[in-house]
Symmetry: C2
Subunit: 193 residues, 2 copies
């Protein structure tokens, strides 16, 4: 999606160790006009899919997922990170490893809100190693719901997450795929889509 | 706001120890149509205030704040909860005590996104003891920004937060104020507004 790629080039900051900071418009301060254009694009891409619910994970995916849910006219659920092991029988749960924070979270969704009747579109801001996404797909599977696909704002194409998820037969629509970036020059190369 | 009060009566669950569960429409699964009506109401209430930014705190405020930001045509920032003490000089930070989780968080906002030019509307899902809100107001004050007011979905009128914040001269617009609730009967009484 050209608009997002241009915005990343304009306002994204490339840091050492493959860090791409987009906190001025995507995941700390959030540009709602941009989110609306992204939501429209996912709506176009997943037209014809019987999506009746959007699923994301706290915290940085919630804003994007909320605007996407508005475009699809469906409710949105966010999976909650929990550090307690005191999980009750009313929730689906799985473990997600966070490389950024160097630890493992329990992630939970209430059983009431994810059922075998649901056709779920998963939305998140980043796809890198795919750990968070694998966890969300696991929750969808536990619920017996159908994963219609995944909408990602920025995929790091040089990490393994995208290939791993697509190899499972899951449709992944990333609006910008970064092929490479250079912390010294700030240059970012996107995959042609 | 009648629509929200009716929805709380219909789908809210009153539990012991003054817990009001509204996770089917407000803060786990989120009803975007309802959020749009709430956003319209805050837009009406704060008409004439020069709001140029909305501030909330992760995670459960983000969805509501995002739809409110759309109604106001302004960006939204969410304050991040951090458990590291490794806070850098690029952030404003404060501590917030969470009674629900029995611990204290560091809460941070990047200095880039909150400045003396900003007129901030704070949005959150709940107001009870007011700790989270006091923390957000502290961040606005550190930045030298102006707090135009606070928009809350559900205020627990029997707890001290609302009175405490209003006593500071801050305008608080809660769309539903629960005066009392009864876990045995499930009855909820709202304050007339």
């Amino acid at each position: 999606m050209k608009l997002l790629e241009e915005r990343i080039r304009k306002d994204g900051l490339v840091r050492e160790e493959n860090v791409l900071k987009v906190d001025s418009f995507l995941n700390h301060q959030m540009d709602i006009g941009l989110f609306e254009e992204m939501a429209k694009e996912w709506k176009r891409l997943f037209a014809g899919c019987p999506v009746n619910k959007i699923l994301t994970i706290e915290a940085s995916g919630i804003g994007i997922a909320t605007i996407a849910a508005r475009a699809f006219s469906v409710p949105v659920i966010f999976a909650k990170k929990s550090q307690s092991i005191n999980l009750d029988s009313d929730t689906y749960s799985t473990k997600i490893q966070s490389f950024t924070h160097g630890r493992t979270y329990d992630v939970i969704v209430s059983k009431k809100f994810l059922t075998p009747h649901d056709h779920v579109l998963i939305i998140d801001d980043f796809l890198a190693n795919g750990c968070a996404l694998m966890g969300l797909l696991e929750l969808v599977e536990q619920a017996g719901a159908v994963a219609e696909g995944v909408g990602i704002a920025i995929e790091k194409g040089f990490q393994e997450g995208g290939a791993k998820i697509r190899a499972k037969g899951i449709r992944v629509e990333s609006l910008a795929i970064v092929e490479s970036m250079d912390a010294k020059t700030g240059a970012i190369a996107f995959r042609n889509q």
